[in-house]
Symmetry: C2
Subunit: 308 residues, 2 copies
């Protein structure tokens, strides 16, 4: 048996995690937490896997748009699809949130939930990351996987709470993270109940976005889908701030951690200046003031990927 | 150790359940189901506990309205609150769905989620059923509790999928059913993130109903919250028809069961004529045609309540 958190360097982050988990699982400790309350929530992009240079979910979305445009060339003349299909990175980077949502709505609707699952599965098991030339699921952080396993071994129920789409992440969450589909909370779209030609009950994905699971929506969706304040929460950016605040707002022992991307050699280094998932100076100040652990990828992680 | 399903009489319903569970948990069987896919969903009102003469959730709602009207007497002059507060049962029975939703919205909002939980907990641990003069949680059907335990012992993950409110049912689901809060899918209202006077992160319940988890909303919400088609589904009325159809619509082994209320002596007898949770003749015909098991409370259940 390997020691827990084997890919973490000895240091304050690893020590803080292990001390917290031991105390909350120890019935004799004043910090003991009832097993039913042992809820740990993990942001995904930038917290459990690589999010640069673009979210995997966005790469999938743009790929799907290409597939759809090949069948329906009219899309090539209609904005905002035209911009994405042009491949002009500078123009794509300037797309607004409503424009991006329009693309998400188009590419994530019109099929049954069963067919969508196959489409997402096909992409995630073949698409490669532009820098690492590996599957996106190979770019999961080994220290965070070990952390999830360690928490589960100590009676914690682990949840993904992501801005990514639930229907997308659920196609690989069990295989990659050991997180069952019902423990994935993410951005969500509507579905409509109906029957196929043979009378079989189906759900069809609507072009309606129900919610984007980011910022204040994270605690709202945690309440909606999980129904408990987490005891531990893990994030990496301003988008996770409210989830960590909500976690800390509960009574008793609580643990909050932010992953800091400061390793340009092995992964990426980015902070307040990042367009995607900025880690603002205000967030860093808040972490220090509130006792949140900041894990440095450079210093706290012995290795980042399983294949290193 | 007690034998499984001890409160079920020997008969076709018990036999069908046990045969299905054994086969789906047996790796050598062609009906074997991967443990991750072993999802079982249970309607609550009329399926796992008494729903007559009124849903517990509705009794709670009316009680809350009384508490609120004592503090804010103006409510006594405003419809539809006035009708409920009058206690006129005939008039109350005639309230429309939009009127009832208005009452639900008022009584289920304006507090933090933490405070609401305490309010619901106080009610469910003290309020008594008018006929049985017992707590509503004493009116859970022992055969269904045994069934949930039996399924969990065979690797099934058990979920409640109810028209009742998630925030209400989650206050007792763990204690009463052994179902963790995150495995309760129900009707839901919005919440808003904010901070209390001390800066602690809180969620406040909005007077906005997000969805009523009934009929076609059940499969929609199962997809949204669980992300998998159930392998087994249990209901008792037309409101569960679509959940059972959705369950049956998946590939491989599936099991659908309807509880039939035909025991006026020990519980209640009602069918197509019931205003609440009707079990229509069309549903009965569909059950027979599609091979859904219909469990007779009178014939299939040795005892109904644990205290009998």
């Amino acid at each position: 048996m390997t020691a827990p958190l084997a890919s973490w360097n000895e240091g304050p982050a690893k020590q803080a995690i292990m001390a917290f988990v031991k105390e909350t699982a120890d019935q004799a400790s004043p910090k003991f937490v009832d097993p039913l309350a042992r809820i740990a929530t993990f942001d995904q992009d930038g917290t459990t896997w690589v999010e640069q240079p673009a979210y995997a979910q966005m790469m999938f979305t743009f790929h799907q748009l290409g597939v759809m445009a090949a069948k329906d060339p009219k899309l090539k003349g209609v904005e905002p699809f035209k911009t994405v299909l042009s491949g002009d990175r500078e123009a794509i980077a300037k797309l607004t949130v409503p424009e991006l949502l329009k693309i998400v709505a188009l590419t994530h609707s019109g099929t049954t939930t069963d067919v969508f699952q196959e489409i997402a599965h096909d992409w995630i098991t073949t698409a490669q990351h532009p820098r690492f030339q590996r599957l996106y699921t190979d770019l999961v952080y080994e220290p965070m996987l070990e952390l999830m396993q360690y928490l589960r071994a100590n009676g914690y129920k682990t949840f993904i709470v992501t801005g990514g789409g639930q229907d997308f992440v659920r196609t690989y969450s069990e295989r990659v993270y050991g997180v069952p589909r019902d423990q994935v909370v993410g951005s969500a779209g509507g579905t409509t109940f109906g029957y196929d030609a043979s009378g079989r009950a189906i759900l069809t994905k609507d072009p309606k976005v129900l919610w984007i699971d980011d910022k204040t929506a994270k605690p709202v969706d945690i309440h909606l889908m999980i129904g408990r304040r987490p005891v531990m929460a893990f994030g990496n950016s301003d988008g996770d701030k409210h989830m960590l605040e909500y976690t800390q707002g509960g009574d008793g022992a609580r643990f909050m951690l932010l992953v800091h991307h400061d390793d340009a050699v092995r992964e990426y280094a980015y902070g307040p200046e990042s367009v995607m998932s900025p880690f603002s100076d205000a967030l860093m100040a808040q972490a220090r003031q509130r006792g949140w652990v900041v894990a440095s990828m450079k210093n706290d992680w012995k290795r980042i990927f399983a294949w290193e």
